[in-house]
């Protein structure tokens, strides 16, 4: 691909991870150039969640390395990785339940400005305008004073997106960004994510089950199966790939083999 000529922002080098005897990721390498939107897909149990968690620092690899702008992330806790400019969202949106929508963002901004140790200022008065601006950006402007627990799930996802943007990340890692949402909501949240990423040249890596979302929004699709890369290319290339079709749809071989038995 042409874009691979640019220096990679995020790079996975020969990642391996196994649980007991089960090899979840078997020597996987990936490099993501600046500003690219990459979807990690694969059937259940293919190792994409493990790969994702290796990228975010929630798991540490048995061997191999993850590099951010050429710097190794090995052994760093997630909070350090965040401070290096990697935002993330979770499959089940993670927000602060005892805070209002606005306060959630303020909390993020306080941490981004490294002021979470401050004992004296009123947290509720800090970074209000910036927080409001971020909420407006994701379309939650009027909901600021609401308790975050009263939001509809789609709005919680938007809140999480805003929360992921508080430290102007240059990489955004999203685990199933549209899981648990209604069809119409999926489109609009993904649309928003892609627009924001393009505006701010954020590199996005996301895992996803909804193929419509993947093929409509990703610049590049990486298919993982049995812990290795099965295919890697533009959505069109991957869609045409025979092996990918086999993995997702099956060849019908099982059916053919069993069919005669069924007649008996």
């Amino acid at each position: 691909m042409s874009c691979s000529l640019l220096p990679p922002v995020l790079e996975a080098r020969a990642l391996r991870k196994s649980y007991g005897g089960v090899v979840a990721v078997a020597g996987l390498s990936l490099s993501v150039p600046r500003g690219q939107i990459l979807a990690l897909i694969g059937p259940n149990g293919a190792g994409k969640s493990t790969t994702f968690n290796l990228l975010t620092g929630h798991l540490s690899p048995d061997s191999g390395d993850v590099l951010l702008n050429g710097q190794s992330l090995a052994g760093l806790p997630p909070r350090r990785i965040w401070r290096m400019g990697v935002g993330r969202t979770f499959q089940v949106a993670a927000t602060f339940g005892s805070m209002t929508v606005l306060e959630n963002i303020q909390m993020g901004l306080i941490s981004a400005h490294n002021r979470y140790r401050a004992l004296w200022p009123w947290a509720g008065a800090l970074y209000r305008d910036q927080a409001m601006a971020l909420l407006d950006l994701v379309g939650l402007g009027p909901l600021g004073p609401l308790p975050c627990a009263t939001l509809a799930y789609g709005d919680v996802k938007r809140l999480e997106l805003a929360l992921a943007l508080v430290n102007d990340p240059h990489v955004l890692l999203m685990d199933e960004p549209t899981a648990g949402m209604a069809l119409a909501e999926r489109e609009s949240v993904m649309e928003l994510t892609v627009t924001l990423a393009r505006q701010r040249t954020i590199t996005v890596v996301f895992t996803e089950h909804d193929m419509d979302v993947v093929f409509r929004h990703a610049d590049r699709v990486a298919v993982i199966n049995r812990g290795t890369l099965l295919a890697d290319g533009t959505p069109d290339e991957v869609q045409q790939n025979e092996q990918v079709r086999d993995v997702y749809l099956g060849r019908g071989a099982t059916y053919r083999k069993q069919a005669p038995d069924a007649e008996r």
Binding site: R79, T95, G97, S98, M107, S111, A112, Y116, A118, G144
Partner: protein, 623 residues
């Protein structure tokens, strides 16, 4: 050598009773997630009930049948009472925050204690010897009671029976399933209500039986419930909550430790049990055979905190004004009562900082209070420090304690953290109790009076009011500072907190240190109010008082605990002086409040002033 063997057997005999109670507690926790504080009370009821039932059956059945029937029948009767309690009270509380159930069962404990006093009186009672097992056998030349030898077998037999029941019966299968995943069992169409009632009754049956079989060994008294519940908490935590085999292992460990501790380290016997527990928790945060638990929720994080609205602000200002004018219309005695209430408001507020803001449940908050009191008293007693310096040294000692404890606590959460704080408080208590000359031991330190300018009750009240109001405002400021928000964020959602760069461990550690400092300040004031300090100021009842105040008032806001302290301390102090059976009334009130007002007293205020949730929030967040 022979003596050691007999001592070991002695320990094993005690282990049986301990195991019965602990396995019951463990079963109940595993299925219902209730930490049943009343378990000790049921144990005590078992002992007293067996005593009376035996005397009732004696003329009808004679000693043999009378005794051997009295034990299981009593346990059955107590279990029936427990089933009733579960249906009437606990069933309403399963969806409430975990600590509320602890509060309700604590109320039950208070009620039982007074009922026992009413029915059986305050004197120790001596039970009958066990018919047929009165003699002693000679083991390597040492006499060993036959009954104790029989008790040796009870623990393993009950363990085997429980194992069989859990693995081979349908009911046992359900219990195991519910221990692993309550929601799933409910989804499969199992009637949870009766499963819970059954398990609760069974657990209590074991506790009551454990109490009844103690009858021939020891005198029974109305403090035995509290005594055993502490030991049993330790056993269950060491063994791992919800693990029956773990409970067996830990009861043997603890019973042997007690049996030999008396021989080897008579000076620190009381600490030993808690030292072992602390050591186990540090190495294995879920106990020896326990599985990691989902963290306990002290608070259901659903409602954002709100800044004080103008009417509330005026109301609070008026309250402080009223309090400040108290010396004009209150006598000396009532002023010192008021000072005491103020001190406990600060104590409750400091506990709230830890529990409400940090989500760190503490069963041993009295440790910081006591360290504060002793810090002040020791500096007056040994260094002749002036009051101002002593009031500073108290919190400093508490801070040192909190730094130490916090370092050990970083990996723990939920009930396990609560238990380690309990252990810490017990260790501090034992050190002071057995400390000898420097701490005054049981006799405490006397003559810790304020300096002349603050010596009159009115002046000391003024000083206390000023310090307490200032400290509570500081706690509030802290809770609403970026630090407070960060601590709360780590409580709300550890995953998200980590993902936006917040270090949970250090933040919670710092939160504990601040809470310790304020509790220490309350303790230091208390020392000067009473003119003395005793190991009591570190003891479990005080920690429980703190929990009750916080839960009674409502853990959601700072107003709750302060209000809770006012109501609880006011009530208990006036009840103690007015009524003989004050525990009964207080316990009843606690149970009623816990079931009727799961949000605490401040929940009522909320209902009254419920602000429209969607209104534009234009007000500046100010105090």
């Amino acid at each position: 050598m022979d003596f050691l063997l007999v001592q070991a057997l002695n320990g094993l005999a005690s282990a049986s009773s301990l195991f019965l109670v602990a396995s019951g507690l463990s079963l109940i926790f595993g299925v219902t997630r209730i930490v049943n504080f009343a378990h000790g009370a049921f144990y005590m009821l078992g002992a007293y009930g067996a005593y009376s039932l035996y005397r009732l059956l004696l003329p009808l059945l004679g000693t043999g049948w009378g005794f051997w029937l009295a034990l299981p029948l009593t346990a059955l009767a107590v279990a029936a009472v427990a089933a009733l309690v579960e249906i009437l009270i606990l069933r309403r509380l399963y969806d409430a925050p975990e600590l509320l159930q602890l509060l309700a069962t604590f109320g039950l404990t208070l009620i039982t204690e007074d009922l026992v006093l009413m029915v059986w009186g305050a004197e120790d009672l001596l039970g009958p010897r066990a018919p047929g097992l009165k003699g002693a056998v000679s083991i390597l030349g040492q006499k060993f009671p036959l009954y104790d030898l029989a008790l040796l077998a009870v623990g393993p037999v009950v363990w085997l029976a429980l194992r069989w029941w859990l693995t081979r019966t349908r009911w046992g299968l359900l219990v195991r399933a519910a221990t692993q995943d309550r929601a799933m069992v409910a989804a499969l169409g199992v009637n949870q209500a009766w499963l819970f009632t059954g398990v609760f009754a069974l657990g209590v049956f074991l506790a009551a039986l454990g109490g009844a079989i103690q009858l021939p060994r020891d005198a029974i008294h109305h403090g035995m419930g509290l005594q055993v519940i502490v030991a049993v908490f330790v056993v269950v935590v060491i063994g791992g909550l919800g693990s029956i085999s773990g409970a067996l292992l830990a009861s043997v460990l603890i019973a042997e430790l007690n049996a030999f501790g008396i021989l080897l380290f008579p000076r620190i016997t009381l600490v030993l049990m808690f030292l072992v527990m602390a050591a186990v928790l540090i190495v294995r945060p879920s106990g020896l055979l326990g599985k990691p638990q989902a963290p306990a929720q002290a608070v259901s994080p659903s409602r954002p905190w709100q800044p004080w609205q103008p009417p509330v602000r005026w109301l609070l200002l008026a309250a402080v004004g009223l309090a400040a004018s108290a010396p004009l219309w209150l006598g000396d005695y009532r002023l010192s009562v008021a000072s005491e209430i103020l001190i406990f408001m600060l104590f409750a507020a400091s506990l709230h900082l830890m529990m409400g803001v940090g989500g760190l449940i503490s069963f041993g908050h009295a440790a910081f209070f006591g360290l504060g009191a002793y810090g002040a008293a020791l500096s007056v007693h040994w260094l002749q420090a002036p009051m101002g310096l002593a009031l500073l040294n108290g919190p400093l000692l508490a801070i040192a304690g909190a730094i130490l404890l916090g370092g050990f606590c970083l990996r723990l959460s939920g009930v396990y953290l609560a238990m380690l704080t309990l252990a810490f408080a017990q260790i501090v208590w034992s050190v002071l109790f057995q400390g000898g000359e420097w701490s005054g031991g049981d006799n405490g330190l006397l003559g810790i009076w304020p300096q002349a300018w603050a010596a009159s009750p009115a002046a000391f009240y003024g000083l206390t009011l000023a310090v307490v109001v200032l400290a509570i405002l500081l706690i509030r400021r802290l809770s609403l500072s970026p630090f407070g928000y960060a601590v709360r964020g780590c409580r709300d959602n550890p995953l998200r907190a980590e993902a936006i760069g917040l270090p949970r461990g250090p933040l919670h550690w710092a939160c504990m240190v601040f809470a310790g400092a304020f509790a220490g300040l309350a303790g230091a004031l208390y020392a000067f109010l009473k003119g003395s300090v005793f190991p009591d100021s570190v003891a479990i009842p005080l920690s429980v008082d703190g929990l009750v105040m916080v839960m009674l008032g409502g853990v959601q806001s700072l107003t709750g605990p302060v209000l809770g302290a006012l109501v609880y301390k006011g009530l208990s102090m006036s009840l103690i002086s007015a009524v003989e059976y004050w525990r009964l009334i207080l316990g009843g009130l606690i149970v009623v409040l816990a079931t009727a007002l799961p949000q605490g007293l401040s929940g009522v205020i909320d209902l009254v002033r419920r602000a429209p949730p969607t209104g534009p929030s234009t007000e500046e967040p100010r105090p």
